[in-house]
């Protein structure tokens, strides 16, 4: 029985010794992928006794960009070889006491740095928001405090931290959120129509200059860079219509106008105040009845109530309130449209 136990121990020692030799050989040959493949497993890690083995495996994991795995390995290393020191550091940080860097060993500081860098690289690898980010960021913040207190590579620590913060902000900025607002606008649009003279077969231009109020809102999605939304409003107004360039007839009256406007719109956010510039393609349905001319020789030329526009828009944001402007032209017409209004996001 004793012989059997001794034999088993010898066999285990021999196996470990031959594994270590292979690990060192692969490390010398810079075969980091092979190291990770062959040695990053529970069996080997549980058996590791030397700091050198930890160092080689940790180095290989970093070379292979296995930062999360490396962070776990370093945590294990710290527990095994620097438990007392780490406990002392944790206590001082928790008690918000200052740390004397000279009281702690250099390997501890180096492994803290590697752990910090691993966590930073993990955070920088996120392509989109994830629930794990918060926890990883919490660990990173803790390591940053420790390294800053120890005054170890503090410039590098801050550079890396800035990159992480920027990256996380970029991820946040990409997220589209629902946006809704209500607004009221003062607007004016000019429309043209025509009078047809039967006796001569000629037409006379009519010019309608309308002003009105538009009450409506928009709904869409927005991130820190763009907004895509649908805008709709009801317009109530009135307009003056006059004949233009026709000496033989006076056609001059003030008419009420009702309209509905629906517009898909796209904005680019230009500042951190959420001010935007954009374009929209409104469709406008207008009801404005022109009366028949007094002279029976003239007839009104019927035109469609539906109009299409292209507008350049801007929003000047002040917290939840904004000023909105639109300026545009009707398709296939010379007539233009503009508006200015005030709105509130909710």
């Amino acid at each position: 029985m004793v012989i059997k136990i001794v034999f088993s121990l010898l066999l285990a020692a021999f196996t470990l010794s031959s594994s270590a030799s292979r690990l060192y050989g692969l490390h010398e040959q810079k075969q980091y992928a092979r190291i990770v493949k062959e040695f990053f497993n529970k069996d080997f890690i549980n058996k590791i006794q030397s700091k050198k083995d930890y160092a080689i495996l940790s180095y290989a994991l970093r070379k292979e960009k296995r930062y999360r795995d490396d962070s776990k390995l370093i945590a294990r290393y710290l527990n095994k070889f620097h438990a007392e020191e780490h406990k002392k550091v944790s206590h001082l940080i928790r008690m918000k006491k200052s740390i004397n860097a000279d009281d702690f060993s250099q390997p501890l500081k180096i492994y803290y740095w590697h752990l910090y860098r691993d966590l930073a690289m993990v955070l920088l690898s996120y392509k989109e928001k994830s629930p794990r980010i918060e926890q990883d960021k919490k660990y990173l913040d803790q390591m940053r405090i420790i390294l800053t207190e120890m005054e170890f590579r503090d410039i590098l620590v801050e550079d890396l931290y800035s990159k992480v913060v920027q990256h996380l902000q970029d991820l946040e900025n990409k997220i589209y959120r629902l946006t809704k607002s209500f607004y009221i606008q003062y607007l004016s649009w000019q429309n043209s129509s025509e009078l047809y003279r039967q006796s001569s077969g000629k037409t006379t231009d009519l010019v309608l200059t309308n002003t009105g109020t538009c009450i409506g809102g928009d709904i869409g999605i927005q991130n820190a860079f763009y907004e895509y939304s649908l805008d709709g409003c009801f317009i109530y107004g009135s307009g003056k219509v006059s004949s233009f360039g026709a000496p033989n007839i006076t056609y001059n009256q003030t008419l009420p106008a009702y309209a509905f406007k629906l517009a898909p719109q796209f904005y680019r956010v230009v500042s951190s105040t959420n001010s935007k510039i954009g374009i929209a393609f409104p469709v406008m349905y207008t009801v404005q009845k022109l009366s028949k001319p007094g002279d029976p020789d003239y007839q009104l030329v019927e035109k469609s109530n539906l109009s299409f526009l292209l507008t350049i828009n801007s929003k000047w944001q002040f917290d939840k309130w904004y000023v909105k402007t639109e300026f545009g032209q009707f398709f296939k017409k010379e007539d233009s449209y503009w508006s200015i209004g005030i709105g509130k996001n909710f």
């Binding site: 003056k240 233009f244 001010s275 510039i277 503009w338």
Partner: protein, 381 residues
């Protein structure tokens, strides 16, 4: 409206490049970048560096560091070797298109400005200044140029003395201090109170820069180069207060007159920082116009809202909204709407496109809108 276009054209220039919208970059006071505290005129060294590094686009020199850009922002692309003299050369020209797309469309290129400026400065923090400019003045369209009228003129020369960094006095020929100084001299907020391109005056300007406010008082005797009976004498004052750290709210007043015309005008003005270079400007005012020879007095009202939104460095998208009611006792009024784009591709070059749509509102009549646009090039060395 079309018949007024030549007159508008006559006054369509800016000799002083007052870009109040740079409040969007955090500059609440003009004196940060200009020798003249009310803005316009020559840029100081800091203003040139800001123009090169912050205002202009970096698309053609993305890899050049800011220090180098600032170094080359001086006259003839180098840092001045002495401290007492600065100079600047400017050119501005534009293609004006009136009634675009219509049967009466017209196009012309106008060399609006070509001038040379110089300033002598001495003492700590430029305590003493002697500034002047001379430049080409485009032929007048309306009224037509007199035969003996010189094609070259000066619009600015003055002596400046800053008693302290906060308090300064300036004596000489300068723009009247009033309202928000805009590039667009056809703006109703410039034409109604008569502070446009050729309205410089000889006078004494006092300027005080407080911790959170700025004040100007300008006493003037008219432009002494004009006929004596046309010299418009009076005074103006501007007060602006910084609110919420980086916005400005203020008021202006001007009273001036000569043998033919008296004017009193007042306005409320604001400049708001919308961050990252974007800004909102406004001015609302009234002018009491008192012509001589028993012509009835009348009161005008005007308004201006202008935004510069900056999607990328060097690019500003404009929305320019103006209102004027020439006579408050009558009903007609006019609204001019002008989208535009301003682009600084590299330092010392500004390209600009402005559209103007003018709509008249008259309860008795409806008239077609008028349109025009300008494609402007501005180069300074």
């Amino acid at each position: 409206m079309i018949r007024f276009l030549p007159l508008l054209l006559l006054i369509f220039t800016d000799h002083c490049f007052a870009y109040a919208h740079f409040i969007g970059h955090g500059y609440t006071s003009c004196i940060n970048c200009h020798f003249n505290p009310s803005g316009g005129g020559m840029l100081n060294d800091y203003g040139r560096a800001v123009s090169a590094t912050t205002i202009s686009s970096r698309i053609f020199n993305e890899k050049t560091d800011e220090e180098k850009l600032a170094y080359t922002s001086g006259f003839l692309f180098r840092k001045p070797k002495q401290d007492f003299f600065r100079t600047q050369v400017n050119y501005r020209g534009f293609q004006l298109v009136r009634n675009p797309g219509s049967k009466v469309e017209s196009k012309e290129w106008i060399n609006m400005q070509a001038d040379l400026r110089g300033i002598l400065k001495f003492g700590e923090q430029d305590k003493f200044l002697l500034a002047g400019s001379i430049g080409y003045s485009p032929p007048a369209r309306q009224p037509s140029r007199k035969e003996d009228e010189n094609e070259f003129r000066t619009r600015e020369y003055y002596l400046g003395y800053r008693v302290t960094p906060r308090l300064g006095f300036y004596a000489g020929l300068m723009d009247k201090t009033y309202g928000v100084k805009l590039v667009e001299h056809i703006a109703y907020s410039r034409t109604t109170p008569q502070v446009t391109q050729n309205d410089q005056t000889h006078g004494l300007l006092a300027h005080y820069l407080g911790g959170s406010y700025e004040a100007f008082a300008h006493y003037f005797q008219g432009n002494l180069a004009d006929e004596k009976d046309q010299q418009s004498k009076g005074f103006s004052a501007v007060f602006e207060k910084t609110i919420f750290t980086n916005h400005r709210l203020g008021a202006s007043f001007i009273k001036s007159g000569n043998e033919y015309f008296n004017l009193t005008s007042y306005a409320l003005q604001g400049k708001f920082n919308l961050h990252e270079g974007s800004a909102l400007l406004f001015e609302f005012g009234e002018a009491i116009q008192e012509p001589a020879n028993n012509v009835p007095h009348f009161k005008s009202r005007y308004g201006m809202i202008q935004t510069y939104l900056r999607p990328w460095q060097g690019v500003y998208v404009l929305t320019n909204i103006e209102y004027v009611k020439r006579n408050l006792s009558e009903e007609p009024y006019t609204i001019r709407w002008g989208p535009g784009i301003q682009f600084f591709p590299i330092q010392r070059v500004e390209l600009r496109a402005d559209f103007y749509n003018t709509r008249n509102f008259d309860p008795k009549n409806s008239t077609k809108d008028t349109w025009m646009y300008l494609l402007q090039t501005h180069i300074w060395l």
